[in-house]
Amino acid sequence: MLASTFPSYPLEQVALDELLGVIRAERALWAPHTGADGHCRLQPMGEGSLPRVAITAFLPLKKLLLPPREEIWSFRSGEYCTAQVPQAFAVVGVPLCDLQAVWYLDQAFADDLPYQARRAQALLVGMACVPGPECRCDGLSMPLAGDLFVDQERVWALSPAGQALLRACGCQVSQEMPLSWPVAVTGKRHALTQKQFFSTTEAAIWTDEAKRCLSCGACSAVCPTCYCFDMLDAAALDGSVTRHRIWDNCFFAEHGKVAGDYDFRPGRANRLRFRMEHKRFGFGALRGQNSCVGCGRCRKVCPVDIDLDQIAERLDGEGGS
């Protein structure tokens, strides 16, 4: 269900410092932090007050919900041990696009125990952002996850947990209000249809763009809804073995390799198309669901400036021809 309104409170009724104190008492706090190199990263937050503006961090929330290297179990002294349940944490200063991405991950990993264990420990506080030149979000076209959202005028409770927090801080009478949504300065994401996409599988643009693609995997690594993973067992000298889940990437030659060295997705053009298909139309139970939240990370990191949105526009031009 795509909720368009949430219970909200005028900002002057919410004691933000008190709210932060309540959150901090129970959880490790993470926030976007812009380093000396100009890059913003999600980092443990020290003392200080709540940030008031969301910043798109280098790596999105999947860094914490689906870590790049996550222990699943270990086998030691003849026994299997499941990994420890992570501690409760909160992330503040999350842009709305990243909250939409978490909604998508929540669906894709609905039956995934390690993901759900981490997710259950997470409190997500969204904030209004200032869209940058790479941003292509298109408002509430996708549901969003999260617990609270703060802009310059109001605070919204996005979940029962968020509502409980606000009540604990003395907020009583809420008003159902639509979320304020940033207006992307460079326009919305191009709305490619499945028909356009599947009628252009042989379009020259795929081989053209693939010639430039370095297969470095940066776009997928920083994408908030790219979630491919691999399993890796590592043995230790004491005889124990630990299984890790690690990020995988559809641009890597090994990604489509199966038994007998058969590759069901050979070549860069296929891999590029595969990523576009996943971003725009999903797979499995999520077929038909867009997963590109328009955060712009992929076009920002690509060393050869490949832009899925520009490809979508060009496919639109070629559609049906």
Binding site: D37, G38, H39, R41, F58, L59, P68, K211, R212, C213, L214, S215, C216, G217, A218, A221, V222, D230, M231, L232, D233, A234, A235, A236, L237, D238, G239, V241, I246, W247, D248, N249, F252, A253, E254, R268, V301, C302, P303, V304
Partner: protein
Amino acid sequence: MKFKTPIKLAWHRFTSCSGCQLTLVNCEASMTALSAVVELHDFALVSSALGNSEVIDVALVEGSLTSPSEVKRLLALRRKAGLLVAVGACALTGGVNVMVKGERRRAMESIYGKPGTEWDTFPPQPVHHFVKVDWQIPGCPPEQHELLEMIAAILHGGWPGRQVMPVCMECRINENRCLLEEDHAPCLGPITRAGCHALCPGIGVPCEGCRGVVAEANQDELCRLFFAAGLSEQDIRHRLERFGEVL
């Protein structure tokens, strides 16, 4: 292939700097655990015990091959070793030794003087040109954890699992700033096998490709980027050939 613990281990160095064996010797925290599962049979850097055992379970080989006597020693080692592992860039591709180009006699003379011209040597070759290699550990030097995990996997009768991906992936995971994209630096990250946790780019040094090239690498486009960034064709060639992989 599963061996009785402790496994009989040998380390042979050919033409190289000993940096690979030092990497294992520097695993201080794992030395006690290592000594419980490994029996050294030939490892000149750490033990004076001579290598005259008839059977070796695991032979680790470092360095490139540059003379007939080295080849003879390698063949003898392969005959008595259950498994042979090539360790480091020199063993895998010839490594930096391959940079010596041109007329060999003249090169030898310029470095070693007249006596050098009499020595029986040939251009550096990787180990797999002469013997079957059961496993490879890349890097200049290799990563400690890859050496230890391989020995641990052999104890279980297998090889370690590993994921083949470029350095860029580890660099993005570490949230390093991109030297290629932001500085137009000649970073070989997009085409180089990861596993080093993007050590060099992480401290601002462009990747030099010491771990070898990933499968299906797009060298053409990377060269075009380097060229656009102002590198000459010769600079680019030198950079790509530094670790012996002629592209």
